[in-house]
Amino acid sequence: MAMLKQWRSHDLMTTQDPIDQDLIDAYRSDAAPAGFAARLTRAAVAQAQARSNPLKWALPAIASIALVVAVVWNYPNDATRQQLPRMEVSFSALPSALPTLSSSKTLAVPSIAALATIPSIPTLDLTMPEYGRIKSQANQLRTPKLPN
């Protein structure tokens, strides 16, 4: 068996082969640094313990959740909401011509289209001469002036 193993390691070698027994011996004389196993075992055990300790990863998660809850809880709701832009919908002036369910002799409830009626929004009331003047000014701004 020993001879067979020796033959195995020599079977590819001739005098011209790039890898001879001296090279293989030099290769096998190389070893891991002293104390490698002990250091590695300590590191592996420490790493495993760090992973298995729930406080290491659970604490940041709990802290971030608590922070979000605190921010939401203390959000200044009323004061801020009044400053937000709002759109009021009025149901006071329902058009009388809108169809209702009363025609089906069951319930006199206005249709959904009536509920969505938006009251008049203040618009820019321009007369035609004013509109023409503004439009011409806008055109002047848009078109570049040619040099004289």
């Binding site: 790039p18 090279l23 030099a26 096998r28 190389d30 891991a32 490698f36 196993a37 075992t41 495993a48």
Partner: protein, 182 residues
């Protein structure tokens, strides 16, 4: 390869036996360290790579299903680690022509062999990955063809083909160098 004992060690590690892990490291540290040196473009990172292999082994042995030998599994991990390291080093390339180490600086046969070894290893590192692995396992680590095939998860014929090609390349490189010197 001592697969039976390795399997027993693996089971003990799965049960949280730290001493078994230390035994496994002691058993394979030299081999993994040397292979890392052969597989990394930057052989100086071999210790870190070997360390990473065993750390991954410690955390990953819980998922080991004994479908292969522990050595095969360690070697697969080593290949992955070395591939990652080489990819990282390729972004910041290092000088490949390193000086031979001075730890055996006596003018003996061993010192000359170690200098030659450094040159040959440099050529081995430049081989395609599969050929490089075959040369390292079959020639340098002295595994049989069937053992090499098991570790590399390929057929014995494939191992022979890769070995033949690799030796051809190494020989041609050696011849070219000899011609340059003369």
């Amino acid at each position: 390869m001592q697969s039976d004992t390795d399997a027993a060690l693996a089971r003990r590690i799965q049960n949280g036996d730290e001493a078994a892990f230390a035994l496994l490291v002691e058993r394979y540290q030299d081999r993994i360290f040397r292979l890392a040196k052969g597989m990394l473009y930057n052989a100086g990172g071999a210790e870190d790579a070997a360390q990473e292999v065993f750390l991954r082994a410690y955390t990953g042995l819980g998922r080991f299903r004994f479908g292969s030998s522990v050595y095969t599994w360690l070697f697969s991990t080593l290949r992955n680690v070395c591939r990652e390291c080489n990819r990282r080093d390729a972004r910041a390339p290092l000088a490949l022509d390193r000086e031979p180490s001075d730890d055996l600086a006596d003018p003996s046969r061993h010192a000359i062999a170690s200098e030659r070894l450094e040159q040959v290893m440099q050529r081995v590192r430049e081989l395609p990955a599969r050929q490089r692995d075959v040369v390292l396992l079959r020639i340098f680590e002295g595994l049989s063809v069937s053992e090499t095939a098991k570790v590399l998860r390929c057929r014995e014929g494939t191992v022979k083909v890769h070995l033949h090609r690799a030796m051809k390349v190494l020989k041609s490189l050696g011849d070219a160098e000899a011609v340059e010197i003369t």
